[in-house]
Structures are given as structure tokens and as C-alpha cells.
């Protein structure tokens, strides 16, 4: 019987304004939650760690990514199996059950709720993803009077900005100095003033179809959308790491823990071990301390810290050890992590025998990198390339961020892992590139000039920092000239075009 309260009521940075109380059923038990919470978050808050059992071995599975990108929180909700409970809001009376392996195929008999008739939408621009890149793109397009549809999987806008409590670098003009969630609030608020922007929440673009149609599945409704251009700003997925016990509840993506504590105000655990010292690992560690979680150590397999010095300094000042040349060997526990074994590695990244050490903890957070979410490009048949500096396969694009599918643009982490400020800039560049084609005369020229100014700033000033050298090198590899793109299109004729 769940009895814990993991909700955070006092926080140095955040004020959690909880909505009205909602009652729903978990395995037949009545559970109290707050409006605005996801089902997974509400269950985690009262101490439920296990959301499902794996198909073959029946191993317990808990929260992992918490942003709808993995399958760890699949549950049966009102008879619908494979529901991603991390992005499914709590509602009065909903019935939630743990999923055990493969579920029976749902039918009208097992699924509650009605289905609305499908809708056909025509729009100037379809934006997939309502994070920093998507919102910035939408604002730019809306400003020029173009019609925009934003498709967003989560039930709120902002993407991963909503859980960023640290202040952003950059300049005043780039929202530098504001905390990430404040930027999300500002962008969403600005966007709400335009009536030429339609936002589809809890909706996923599931495919690109012949003739330039995009299929979108909403909660209980299908949309067929015919846009004149598409911007895919679908973000990224946290990467896994192979080690025994890596599927135990309590082993989470660092971003998953961040969602719990900063978006929902739920303490993810009491003692954490963080794997990876890139900016994500360092920032999340600092935020764990702010949420009252003890950080036992940050492990880094390289002989030096991955992230920026100032982020490292912030956690070192409060005594968090950063163990370079160390990695995790195993996590152990029964239905939840109870500890982990760490090990030192040599110059070839091989474990040094005898250097193993056990650390008691109830959280193991993986912060070892992100992979761009480029599934829509793969499905549409865009020319793609695997670029390690960018975290995986990404679509080849021009400087204006158009891919080999004419009229299909990419922006933000989906274009290759970088960071939120460049995501916002890329979103604006893609939007301006589209606007320059859709507008005419003087206005088109002005838009073009604005885009060139942004491109110049992005490539020649912002990305001039040696700290961004890796991402820059990756983005250079992914970017081709207009002529080269035409050649690629001749070699690999696009299956579809939005132009």
C-alpha cells in the first residue's frame, strides 16, 4: 500500500502551484493527485516505483525518460495498453493498471471513451514539437501572419525548457539570464496572442504520406494535415548504458529525474549516483541538491570533466565528488535500486581490477548523452548521415535548415544535439527561411536579411566558442550548400515534397 509523500513543498527556486485534487484508480485503489500532474508523476509521488513488468522475464520497470520517448512507463489506462503514463494527465476516475508484458489487442469492448471524427487541416507551416526550437519558429512565423499548426506530444508546451531551473547563458537578446522555465512561460505567453497559431497538445505526427500529407494522432482524434512547409523540432532522447541492473526502477535518465523534481515538484530519491559529467549531469546534480537529494558522486569515464567548468564548480562547492576515469559496473536492488558498484578505468577505458567500490543509493541517473529524435525524417526518406558529434543519425540540411525533402526543415536537438539557445536560434532561422519564400517583395527581402544576420551570429559569433567546438564540427558535417543539396536530390529523388 503506497504511503509516501515525495512531493516537494518548499524549493529555493520553484513555487509549485498545485491544481485541484483529482481522484483516480491504480490497480483498483483510489489515489489522490493534483490536476496538472501526469499519471506516472502522481504514482511516483506516493511511492510507487514499478509501472510495468518486462515481456520476457517479468522484470519490474519504473520511470526512465518521463517525456514520452521510452517505453518504461507503459501502463493500461482505461483499457488502453501501452499508454505513456509520463505524458498522460491525471483525470478524475481514470483506471490505471500495471502492464505485464505484451497486452491483449484493445477493442471497442475494452477501451472506454469515444472517438471523434477525423479532421482535415490545411496550413502554411506544420511544426512538430513545441520546445525551444518549435516555439521560437512558431512565433517568428506568426509574426509574419502565416498560419501555423504546432503538434506537441506533452499536454503542455515548452519542451524540456519547463524543467530547466538554472539561468541560461547567452545575451539579453537571447533570453540569457532568465531561467529555462521562465523562457518557456514567456514564449508560450507570446504565442497565445496569435490566433493564426493552432496548438494540438497530446498529439503526435506519426508519418509523412504521399502527396505531402502528414498524419497526426491526437488523444481521440485523427488529423490529416496538408502543410506548405514542415519544421521538425522533435528534440532528443536520453541514451541508455549497458550494465547489469540498468533496468531497475531508480535507474533513470538524468532528464527524467529533472522532470519529476522540477516540472512536478516530486523528489526523485534520497541519494543519487550520477553517471556522466557533461552539462546535463552537472546541472541535474546541482538541481538535485536544491531538491534536497544527496548526490553521492558524479562518475566520468574520461580523464577530465565533460561539461563547462562553471557548472562543475557549482557542485564541487557543495562537496559533490566528480570521479573522473570512473564508470558504473552494476546497479543492484530488488524492486528498486539499493546501490551500485563503481569502478576505475585505465587509459583504454578498461575497468581496473580491484578498484570496485559499492555506493548505497536509491537513484542512478544516466547523463551520458542524447540522441536526436529524427524518426520522421527516416520515415519520410530524407538523406541522413550518422554523425557522432551530433549524437546519431541526422538529416543532411542546407544552411537554411532545409533537408533533402523539399519544404521539410529541421531545428533544435533533432538537427543534432547542441543546447537550448542554439535550438531557439535554429527555430527562428528555419521559420525565416520559410517566410522568405511565402512572402513577397520588400517583406521577403527584409526576412531574408534578418535570417542572414541570425545565421552570421550563430556560425561566426556564438559557435565560435571552443566550448561548442564539437557540436559545431558536427553541424558543419551535416550542412551542405544549395548546389550540393540539389545534387543529393538528383541522386536520391525525394519521395515527397512540401513545396
Amino acid at each position: 500500500m503506497p504511503s509516501r509523500d515525495r512531493r516537494i513543498w518548499e524549493h529555493p527556486i520553484l513555487t509549485f502551484r498545485r491544481g485541484r485534487k483529482v481522484r483516480f484508480f491504480f490497480e483498483g485503489m483510489e489515489i489522490e493527485a493534483y490536476e496538472g500532474e501526469s499519471i506516472a508523476a502522481a504514482l511516483y509521488a506516493i511511492g510507487i516505483d514499478v509501472f510495468s513488468y518486462s515481456s520476457k522475464l517479468g522484470r519490474p520497470r519504473g520511470a526512465f525518460c518521463m517525456i514520452g520517448k521510452c517505453s518504461s512507463c507503459f501502463m493500461v489506462v482505461d483499457g488502453v495498453p501501452n499508454t505513456r503514463t509520463c505524458i498522460e494527465p491525471v483525470r478524475d476516475g481514470v483506471r490505471v493498471e500495471r502492464q505485464k508484458g505484451l497486452a491483449p489487442v484493445p477493442s471497442e469492448k475494452t477501451v472506454d471513451g469515444s472517438v471523434e471524427p477525423e479532421e482535415v487541416l490545411e496550413t502554411d507551416v506544420l511544426i512538430v514539437g513545441g520546445g525551444p526550437a518549435g516555439l521560437s519558429a512558431a512565433l517568428e512565423l506568426a509574426r509574419y501572419g502565416l498560419n501555423v499548426v504546432i503538434v506537441n506530444e506533452h499536454f503542455k508546451l515548452g519542451g524540456q525548457l519547463v524543467k530547466q531551473t538554472h539561468k541560461f547563458f547567452g545575451s539579453k537578446e537571447l533570453f540569457g539570464g532568465l531561467r529555462g522555465f521562465q523562457i518557456a512561460e514567456m514564449l508560450s505567453e507570446q504565442l497565445s496572442k496569435y490566433d493564426n497559431v493552432k496548438v494540438l497538445l497530446q498529439s503526435a505526427a506519426y508519418g509523412v504520406f504521399r502527396g505531402g500529407w502528414v498524419g497526426v494522432a491526437s488523444r481521440n482524434k485523427l488529423y490529416r494535415i496538408k502543410p506548405r512547409a514542415v519544421i521538425v523540432a522533435a528534440g532528443a532522447t536520453e541514451q541508455y548504458l549497458a550494465f547489469p541492473g540498468n533496468d531497475l526502477p531508480g535507474v533513470m535518465g538524468a532528464g527524467g529525474a529533472q522532470t519529476l523534481m522540477n516540472e512536478y515538484g516530486i523528489k526523485p530519491g534520497d541519494r543519487a549516483l550520477v553517471v556522466g559529467s557533461g552539462n546535463v549531469g552537472l546541472i541535474v546534480s546541482y538541481q538535485l541538491l536544491q531538491a534536497g537529494v544527496k548526490v553521492e558522486a558524479i562518475l566520468e569515464i574520461m580523464p577530465q570533466i565533460g561539461g563547462w567548468f562553471v557548472h562543475a564548480a557549482k557542485v564541487r562547492r557543495y562537496g559533490v565528488p566528480i570521479l573522473t576515469s570512473h564508470t558504473i559496473k552494476a546497479a543492484w536492488g530488488r524492486e528498486r535500486v539499493e546501490g551500485a558498484t563503481i569502478v576505475r578505468v585505465d587509459e583504454k577505458f578498461q575497468p581496473v581490477p580491484g578498484s570496485e567500490r559499492d555506493i548505497e543509493c536509491d537513484l542512478v541517473l544516466l547523463a551520458i548523452g542524447l540522441a536526436p529524435d529524427t524518426r520522421l525524417f527516416a520515415q519520410a526518406g530524407a538523406v541522413m548521415r550518422w554523425i557522432p558529434e551530433l549524437g546519431g543519425p541526422v538529416p543532411i540540411r542546407t544552411r537554411r535548415l532545409e533537408t533533402s525533402i523539399p519544404g521539410m526543415y529541421v531545428a533544435g536537438d533533432a538537427s543534432g544535439i547542441e543546447e537550448a539557445t542554439t535550438a531557439m536560434i535554429e527555430g527562428r532561422i528555419a521559420a525565416l527561411a520559410i517566410a522568405s519564400k511565402f512572402l513577397d517583395g520588400e517583406r521577403a527581402k527584409r526576412v531574408e536579411e534578418e535570417m542572414e544576420k541570425l545565421l552570421d551570429f550563430l556560425w561566426n559569433e556564438y559557435r565560435a566558442s571552443p566550448l561548442l567546438a564539437r557540436a559545431r564540427a558536427g553541424k558543419e558535417k551535416a550542412t551542405v550548400s544549395e548546389e550540393e543539396m540539389e545534387r543529393l536530390r538528383k541522386e536520391h529523388p525525394p519521395l515527397v515534397s512540401f513545396r
Binding site: P12, F169, G177, I305, F309, S465
Partner: protein, 168 residues
Amino acid sequence: MVMVLESVPTYRRTGIVSVEELKSLGLLPPEERLRKGPVAILECPEPIPCNICVDACPSGAIKMDRIVDLPRVDWDKCTGCGTCVALCPGLAAFVVDLSKPDKAYVTVPHEFLPVPRVGDEVWLLGRDGRRLGKGKVVKVWERNRTWVVTVEVPKELAMEVRAIWVER
């Protein structure tokens, strides 16, 4: 890999920048300026694409030609007001005052509960998190949930204390 390691500054391996490293990067004010009164020390050794401190400084004392440059403080213009401490996104700005005869004053950013109050005796933490002793809080103010806290510290710890911890 070994070659890379040799060229890497110590702070990239430890997360702790030494006073010597700060000095060699030109980030420390000269001794005589330190003795004159409060002055900002920006412990920002890497070229982060960020110029928030430049805009933040009410005295126009921080300069940067390009957004990826290290911040340069004009020590004569700097009044040690602490605005940069509140606004630096990297929480890398501090103010040190060595002008008083027996005590030094260090101003640090703070983002933890409980919020320190004037008169509190708080733990003084070094760059490595070590507890260096206790010190009295003499001033506290806040901007967008970053508290700017000035503590009284023994003079020899002025270049060591870079955080506080409140126990109540």
C-alpha cells in the same frame, strides 16, 4: 588521449580553479585594489558564449569584445556592488572586500533553503566543498531567486570561501 590530458588545465579535471590559475588568466584584481574596498572576482576561465555580466554591471566595469571572450573587469570602475553575483548565470561571480583591518568580507551567490538571515552563523565552504569554519552573515539580498550573501570571514580565507551552507 594522454596528450590531450597534458594540455588540459587542472580545473577541467577537478572542477576547482586555483588562485594561481585565476591570476594567470588575469581574473584577479591587483593586491592594492583588493585592499581599497569591495571588488568583483569573476571565476570564469572558459570562453562561454555569454555576456550577461557586461549588461548587468551598473558601472559599466565589465568588458567583452565578442560574446565568446572572457570577461574583463575594470577594477577602478568596479564598486563591488554585487549585481554580477546575482545575475551571472554560471554563479561564477563573487565580491571580495579586504579593506577592513581584521576581517574580510566575501559575497557569494546562494540558491538553497533555508534562506540565510543577517546575523546567522553559517558554514563557510571552499571551492572543494570543505567546511573552512563558520562566519557571520552581514548582508542578504535577492534577485530572481538567487540570494546574494555577504559573510564575514578571517582575512586569510578571503580567496578560499566561495559558498555558504545554512544549518538551522
